[in-house]
C-alpha cells in the first residue's frame, strides 16, 4: 500500500509532547542541571562535571542506604510472596466467603501510606500502643524507637500487613481462572496436594506472580512514607532507606548537587531493574 506522507501530522503529537515535557522532561532536566553544577547561593552556578556522581558513588552513606534498601526489599519479597500464595490458596472459591475475603484483603490497600505509618507508629508505642504495650506486659523489652532490630521488625511487619493483600489478590485471580476439569483430572491421575500445586496451580500463577514480584520490588525499593512516619529513618540511620536518605540530603542539608546526582543514580538503578524484569517476563512469554 502507498504510504501517505504529510508532515502536518506531527502537530497531532504536539499536545502529548507538551504534556510529557512539562510533567517529566523539564523537571528531570532541572535535576540533571543541578547534578553537574555547584552553587553557593545567589543563583550562581559553577560547572562541576561528574564530581557529584563520583562523590555519591564512593560515599559510604549511599552504599549503606542502598544496601539497607536491597535487604529490606529482599526480606519483604521473601515473606510476602509465599505468604500471599498460601493465603490465596486457602481462600474460598465460591459462596458468601468470597466477597468477605476479597473486601478484607482489599482494605489495607485502600489506606493512604502516611495513615498506615501513623497506625503502626501508634500501634507499636510502648506507652499507649496495643502491640507495644502488650509486648511490654508480656515481659518483652520491645522498643522500636531505640532498638534497630525492633525498628526493622516493625517496618517489615507493617509492609507485610499493607501489601501482602496485593500478592494475594493477584494470585487469587490466577487461581480462579483454572477450570475445574484440571482438578478433576488431577484426582483421576492420583496427584497429591503438592503435585496439584506444583504442576497445575503454580504454572497458572506464574505470570501474575512475576507481576506481583515486579510491583512489590519497585514499590519497596522506593518506600518512603511509612518508615518515615514510624521511625523517621532511625534509630540512628538504621532504617534510612534510599528515598529517606535522598530527602535528608536534598531538603535537610540542601546539598542540591549531590542530591541531584543521587536522584539520577537512584532512577537509573530502578530503570535497570525494571528492564531486567521486563526482559525476563517477555522471554518467558516467548518461550510459551
Amino acid at each position: 500500500m502507498e504510504k501517505t506522507w504529510n508532515n502536518k501530522a506531527w502537530f497531532m503529537v504536539l499536545p502529548v509532547l507538551l504534556l510529557v515535557a512539562f510533567s517529566a522532561v523539564i523537571p528531570l532536566m532541572t535535576v540533571v542541571n543541578y547534578s553537574v553544577q555547584d552553587t553557593f547561593g545567589n543563583n550562581q552556578f559553577f560547572w562541576a562535571g561528574a564530581e557529584w556522581f563520583d562523590e555519591v558513588l564512593h560515599s559510604e552513606r549511599f552504599h549503606a542506604s542502598l544496601g539497607r534498601n536491597l535487604i529490606f526489599s529482599a526480606i519483604i519479597l521473601l515473606i510476602e510472596i509465599p505468604l500471599g500464595i498460601v493465603i490465596a490458596l486457602n481462600m474460598p472459591r465460591k459462596g458468601w466467603g468470597v466477597p468477605v475475603c476479597l473486601v478484607l484483603m482489599a482494605l489495607p490497600l485502600l489506606i493512604p501510606w502516611n495513615v498506615v505509618g501513623t497506625i503502626w507508629q501508634v500501634f507499636g508505642r510502648v506507652d499507649i500502643g496495643l502491640l507495644g504495650h502488650t509486648l511490654a506486659n508480656l515481659g518483652i523489652n520491645y522498643n522500636y524507637v531505640q532498638n534497630p532490630m525492633h525498628a526493622w521488625f516493625t517496618v517489615i511487619i507493617m509492609d507485610v500487613w499493607h501489601w501482602t493483600s496485593l500478592v494475594v489478590l493477584l494470585c487469587y485471580a490466577g487461581l480462579v481462572s483454572i477450570p475445574d476439569a484440571f482438578y478433576q483430572a488431577a484426582k483421576i491421575d492420583g496427584a497429591s496436594r503438592w503435585a496439584v500445586f506444583r504442576y497445575i496451580q503454580l504454572p497458572k500463577m506464574n505470570r501474575v506472580l512475576l507481576i506481583a514480584v515486579l510491583l512489590r520490588f519497585m514499590d519497596s525499593f522506593m518506600i518512603y512514607t511509612e518508615p518515615f512516619v514510624v521511625t523517621g529513618g532511625g534509630p540512628g540511620n538504621s532504617t534510612t532507606f534510599l528515598s529517606i536518605d535522598l530527602v535528608k540530603v536534598a531538603v535537610g542539608q540542601f546539598d542540591l548537587g549531590p542530591a541531584a546526582a543521587m536522584s539520577i543514580i537512584y532512577f537509573l538503578i530502578i530503570l535497570l531493574l525494571s528492564w531486567v524484569f521486563y526482559t525476563v517476563m517477555t522471554n518467558y512469554d516467548a518461550e510459551r
Binding site: 478433576q184 484426582k187 483421576i188
Partner: protein, 355 residues
C-alpha cells in the same frame, strides 16, 4: 476391569430435593457388564456427565449405591476407585513434557520406572505422538493436547473402567474417525470396560456395543444400535436416533387397524394392546414406501443428500418423512404405504406394541 452396578442411583445438585424436577439424575438402576463398551447418548443437560462423574467419584450421588464387581464403592474417593477419565476439553500439565504428562498418573501410583517407560512408549505410539515425547506439552495444538489427555486415560492398564466425556469434540473430523477406531481396537484387544459420553449418534453407534440413551435425567433405553433403530422404547429414542428421526403421529386404535386422520393402516399383529393415554404410531422413514398405492400425500420438500433423497410429505396435517433411493422416481400423484415391519405403537411416549 470391572462390572459396574448402578443401584437405584439418584442425584440432585441442590440441597433438599423434593420433587422429581429437582433431580438432575432420576433413578438409574442398571448393571453394566465387565468389558463392555457403552455409549451414553443424549442431548445436552440430560444427565450424561452427571452419571459419568458419579461413576468416577467426582460426584457423590444423593441416593443409591455404586458397585464395582459387587463391591460397594459409593464412599470411595476417585483415586481408590482406580478409574481413568478423559474430559471434553484437553487437560494437560503445561510445564511437563509430553512423556512426563503420560507418566504422571503412573508415577503418582508408584509404578517402577522401567514399567512406566514401557507403558508410556506404547501409549505414545498408539496416539501417534512418539516423536513429540520430549517436547513441552504447552506448545502443542488442541487436538494433540486432547490426544495426550486420551493417552493419560489409556496408559494405566489396571483400571476398573475408562470413562470418556465427549473426548473428541475438539478434534477435527478425520482424526476423530481415526481415534474412534483406535479406541474400538483397544477395547477389543484389552477388554477394558469403557463408558463413552456423547451427543453425537454416529459416534455412539460406531463406538459402542450397547448404547444407553438418556433423556431428561433418565435412561430411556439400553440396547444395541440395531435395537435402538428398529424398536425404540421411547419416542425420544425414535426422534434422536436416525437421520431424519422417526415419524411419530397420533392415531386411534380400532381392532387390528390404526386410524390416522381419514385413513386406516393395517397393524402387524392383530392383538394390539388397548392402552390408555396418548396413542401414537411411530415409523422410521426407511419403512415408508412412496409409490402409487396407499394414502395420498402432498410433497412439501425434497432433500437430496447423495446416497438417497429425503422426501418431506404431508398426509393431511401430518408431516411424514420418507427415504427414497437415489434412482427411484417420484410419482406425479404420490401415495405412501407403511411397511408393517417398521410400525411401533406408543402410549404416552413409551412403546406398547409393534412387531
Amino acid at each position: 476391569m470391572a462390572r459396574i452396578d448402578l443401584n437405584h442411583i439418584r442425584h440432585a445438585y441442590g440441597p433438599n430435593p423434593k420433587s422429581d424436577k429437582d433431580y438432575a439424575l432420576k433413578e438409574v438402576h442398571h448393571s453394566w457388564e465387565d468389558g463392555g463398551a457403552y455409549a451414553l447418548l443424549g442431548p445436552s443437560g440430560c444427565g450424561k456427565t452427571t452419571l459419568l462423574n458419579i461413576i468416577s467419584g467426582l460426584i457423590h450421588p444423593s441416593h443409591g449405591q455404586l458397585l464395582f464387581d459387587g463391591q460397594d464403592v459409593t464412599n470411595l474417593s476417585t483415586q481408590e476407585r482406580n478409574i481413568a477419565q478423559v474430559f471434553q476439553f484437553p487437560v494437560i500439565y503445561d510445564t511437563m513434557t509430553v512423556y512426563d504428562n503420560l507418566a504422571f498418573p503412573l508415577r503418582n501410583r508408584g509404578v517402577p520406572e522401567p514399567e512406566i517407560d514401557r507403558k508410556v512408549r506404547e501409549t505414545l505410539d498408539m496416539i501417534d505422538l512418539a516423536s513429540w515425547a520430549n517436547k513441552k506439552a504447552r506448545g502443542l495444538t488442541a487436538d494433540q493436547k486432547q490426544k495426550i489427555s486420551l493417552g493419560r486415560g489409556l496408559v494405566r492398564s489396571d483400571v476398573n473402567a475408562i470413562l470418556f466425556d465427549e473426548p473428541l469434540t475438539v478434534i477435527d473430523p478425520h482424526m476423530k474417525w481415526v481415534l474412534r477406531s483406535q479406541l474400538k481396537q483397544l477395547h477389543q484387544r484389552f477388554g477394558y470396560t469403557m463408558v463413552y459420553v456423547t451427543h453425537d449418534q454416529t459416534e455412539a453407534l460406531t463406538f459402542a456395543q450397547k448404547v444407553v440413551v438418556m433423556y431428561d435425567g433418565e435412561i430411556v433405553q439400553i440396547g444395541t444400535p440395531e435395537e435402538l433403530f428398529e424398536r425404540p422404547r421411547h419416542t425420544f429414542v425414535g426422534y434422536f436416533i436416525g437421520s431424519p428421526g422417526m415419524n411419530v403421529m397420533p392415531v386411534t386404535l380400532l381392532g387390528g387397524m390404526a386410524q390416522i386422520g381419514g385413513h386406516q393402516v393395517q397393524l402387524p399383529s392383530p392383538a394390539m394392546p388397548t392402552a390408555a393415554g396418548k396413542i401414537e404410531l411411530g415409523i422410521r422413514p426407511e419403512y415408508v414406501r412412496l409409490g402409487r398405492q396407499g394414502m395420498p400425500v402432498k410433497i412439501a420438500k425434497i432433500e437430496d443428500i447423495g446416497r438417497h433423497k429425503i422426501v418431506r410429505t404431508r398426509l393431511e396435517n401430518q408431516e411424514i418423512a420418507v427415504i427414497v433411493g437415489e434412482g427411484q422416481d417420484i410419482p406425479a400423484e404420490p401415495h405412501i404405504a407403511f411397511d408393517p415391519k417398521g410400525i411401533n405403537i406408543y402410549a404416552d411416549s413409551w412403546r406398547v406394541g409393534g412387531q
